[in-house]
């Protein structure tokens, strides 16, 4: 007796859904998952870039990274530099991009909003190297930023040391990153804001709610999933920052104050050829990212918002 199988519509949809995600899964497996596994395995070896052989050394790379100086560029300093940069960049970026998006939503003419959307988003299209190069010229002692600082503080010929003072150097990298990516997150917030039904705002107006009250009591709670998404994305992106710091160092800035983990990975692996050690660093970064993402999820528990 021939038994005919019957699939529910959901199962059929799920089957097609799975089929459509296969290319993406394959891509992810090849270009993300495989390198992660590879880095994990390499982190337990003494692999060097140009050596033909390598051997298993257990946790030696990890022990080294947490106890030694790594040629003057310790992992501890890199973790400090990365966390300083991340905290100093992603929190203002999330807050200000949200405010800008909320302000832009107030613009009635779509053309006006479009103009600001393009203006804010434009730097995100630039390559990071180009962006950093432009800012290097601006931060030069004879550059516009120093001149503006002199005008602002009513001084003359003062070198504000945007590239030479440790603290100013860290601020400089944060400013470049903030300028480059703020538009991207503004667009994400605008999308989130646009998805809130206008009827809710209309009801609030009828009930006599002020704009300030509406923002805090309606917009923000309904935007929570977008806020969580944007803050996690911004944080992860900041943790992975590389080109800004790299370009600054290439142009003569001191490495130690801005030696973020990714840059240390690059110098250890590519410049000094210590691939095993660099892989161990990348695993440490991976764990930090995982932990911080988990923490953020756990503390911001976003309930599904339904309109």
């Amino acid at each position: 007796m021939n038994k005919q199988r019957h699939y529910s519509i959901e199962r059929k949809q799920a089957k097609w859904g799975f089929l459509f995600t296969v290319p993406c899964l394959v891509f992810f497996a090849l270009f993300s998952f495989y390198p992660i596994i590879n880095a994990f395995v390499t982190s337990f070896t003494n692999r060097q870039a140009i050596a033909r052989t390598s051997r298993f050394i257990g946790f030696e790379n990890y022990v080294y990274l947490f106890t030694k100086d790594n040629g003057g560029f310790s992992l501890g300093n890199s973790i400090r530099a990365t966390l300083t940069f991340t905290l100093g960049t992603f929190i203002p970026m999330v807050v200000i991009s949200l405010l800008l998006a909320a302000l832009m939503m107030q613009l009635r003419r779509p053309s006006h909003r479009g103009f600001f959307e393009i203006s804010f988003y434009m730097p995100a299209v630039l390559s990071s190297v180009v962006a950093a190069s432009i800012w290097m010229i601006l931060f030069d002692p004879r550059g516009l930023v120093n001149q503006f600082s002199n005008w602002l503080f009513m001084t003359s010929g003062k070198d504000f040391k945007w590239l030479t003072n440790d603290t100013m150097l860290q601020w400089s990298t944060m400013i470049v990153y903030f300028w480059k990516y703020i538009g991207y997150f503004v667009i994400l917030f605008l999308t989130g804001l646009a998805s809130i039904p206008s009827t809710i705002y209309e009801a609030a107006i009828v009930d006599g709610s002020s704009r300030w009250h509406t923002f805090w009591r309606i917009t923000l709670p309904l935007l929570k999933p977008t806020v969580v998404l944007v803050s996690i994305m911004a944080m992860l992106q900041c943790l992975k920052t590389f080109s800004t710091q790299y370009m600054f160092v290439q142009n003569g800035a001191a490495r130690q104050p801005i030696d973020v983990i990714t840059m240390n990975i690059y110098f250890t692996g590519v410049r000094n050829g210590k691939l095993g050690r660099a892989s161990a660093m990348s695993i440490v970064l991976f764990v930090i990212m995982l932990l911080l993402t988990y923490l953020q999820f756990a503390t911001t528990k976003s309930d599904d918002v339904e309109y």
Binding site: A49, G71, D159, G252, A253, Q256, V270, N272
Partner: protein, 433 residues
């Protein structure tokens, strides 16, 4: 008789086989060969080399040469990552301190002497100036041939000197102390901001340009037995103090964050008076600013020494050597050495056109070199100098020196503290080898 006939017939039978073998070899010789050639950018050199490659391809129709050019700094990373991925270029050139680890790791092939037109290692070495092949000689074999050997002396813009009321012919700096006092006279500022510098160092290249300063004071980078790093505390601290004074937190005469002095020099924009660079800069001035080159308003003077120098040492010389990938098959290796040899057989033209020195005895003792402006200054400085430090950790040591310099110049770290950290770091790097 019968036996003789059989032998003769047998030999005749072998003849086609022998010829067949010969034609097979000829066929193999003519089989297509592709050479991936990676080199650093230099506009003047590129024109020459493109022509040599074209000529070589015409003479060897089975050989195709693909050239990749990148900045010297980028090339270091590209070559390393490609070797790490098991797919390096057939032939390449890097600075010797970056190339040496490839020899030790067995990633580059010893010379195919016959293909390059030499009898053996001894024959090649005898054709080059003393010790210039030492960094690429390992276990009796030569692994590379120099595309260029460079040392740096001091270029001076006479106009800037005169503008500051100095006579360049008499007042040029003979000592590092002079360098400070003269730079103080040459420098122009808008408040704290430098608008004209006297001299500025070539930051990043400390092994070449700064280690000799320490050696003048009696210090040493690595001990002769290779076991101890950063020797002679007084010398190192004195040098670090000198650099601290040079920087923005001292006398404010220069900084690593300003545009490289060498890049500004050719423009003759009254923003730099002196810079450290090699003979090749003459060709670059000529190409970038012929008017300035022809004006005779520039000159080259020897590398200074400290007043109380214990040793007379000039800037280290460094070489870019052509090397061949050991993973390439023998035939490709042979073709690569033939190409290298063909290109390097034009040493005189390289010198005339690009002012790149290939340190063969013929060239260095020839009239062309002698007639180059200021070639004597470079030759004399070369005699006072030595080959730059090369070893498996040279890149990391260069980075450690960079940290120490920036600590004292930009980060207000004391010279003593920077020395202590530098010593510990370099020692760790040496111990790791």
């Amino acid at each position: 008789m019968k036996k003789g006939l059989i032998l003769l017939l047998s030999l005749l039978l072998l003849v086609p086989a022998v010829f067949a073998q010969g034609s097979k070899e000829a066929e193999e010789d003519n089989a297509p060969v592709t050479i991936e050639f990676w080199t650093h950018e230099d506009v003047n050199r590129q024109q020459l080399e493109d022509r040599y490659i074209q000529e070589f391809e015409t003479a060897h129709p089975n050989v195709t040469v693909n050239v990749t050019r990148q900045s010297a700094e980028k090339m270091i990373e590209l070559v390393q990552t490609s070797f790490a991925a098991g797919k390096g270029p057939t032939m390449f050139n890097l600075s010797v301190n970056d190339e040496y680890p490839y020899i030790v790791a067995g990633r580059v092939a010893p010379m195919d002497y016959a293909a390059a037109g030499y009898k053996d290692a001894k024959d090649v070495i005898s054709k080059y100036m003393d010790n210039t092949l030492a960094p690429v000689t390992y276990k009796g074999e030569v692994y590379g041939l120099p595309l260029e050997l460079t040392n740096w002396s001091i270029y001076i813009n006479k106009k800037v000197f005169r503008d500051a009321g100095l006579d360049p012919e008499k007042d040029y700096p003979k000592t590092w102390e002079d360098m400070v006092t003269i730079s103080q006279k040459l420098v122009k500022r808008d408040g704290d901001v430098l608008t004209r510098r006297g001299y500025d160092f070539r930051y990043k290249y400390y092994l070449e340009n700064c280690v000799p300063m320490v050696e003048q004071l009696g210090g040493q980078l690595i001990s002769d037995d290779g076991k101890e790093a950063i020797i002679g505390k007084d010398a190192w601290v004195k040098w670090l103090t000198y650099m601290q004074q040079w920087g923005p937190n001292g006398l404010n005469l220069g900084s690593p964050t300003y545009t490289a002095a060498r890049k500004l020099f050719n423009k003759d924009n009254n923003d730099i008076a002196m810079c450290s660079t090699g003979l090749y800069q003459e060709a670059r001035i000529k190409a970038d600013n012929p008017k300035f080159y022809e004006s005779g308003e520039w000159m080259v003077v020897p590398y200074p020494t400290f007043k109380d120098a214990k040793k007379d040492v000039a800037a280290c010389f460094y070489g870019h050597y052509y090397m061949v990938n050991a993973d390439a098959d023998k035939k490709t290796q042979k073709a690569a050495w033939q190409l290298i040899s063909y290109m390097l057989s034009h040493g005189e033209e390289y010198l005339e056109t690009t002012q790149v020195i290939q340190p063969t005895k013929t060239l260095m003792e020839g009239e062309t070199f002698k007639n180059m402006p200021y070639s004597k200054v470079f030759k004399d400085d070369m005699a006072r100098g030595h080959m730059v430090y090369y070893g498996a950790a040279s890149t990391a040591i260069q980075a450690a020196l960079d940290t120490a310099i920036k600590q004292v110049m930009l980060q207000n770290v004391s010279a003593e503290d920077a020395y202590t950290e530098l010593k510990a770091t370099c020692q760790e790097l040496i111990d790791e080898q």
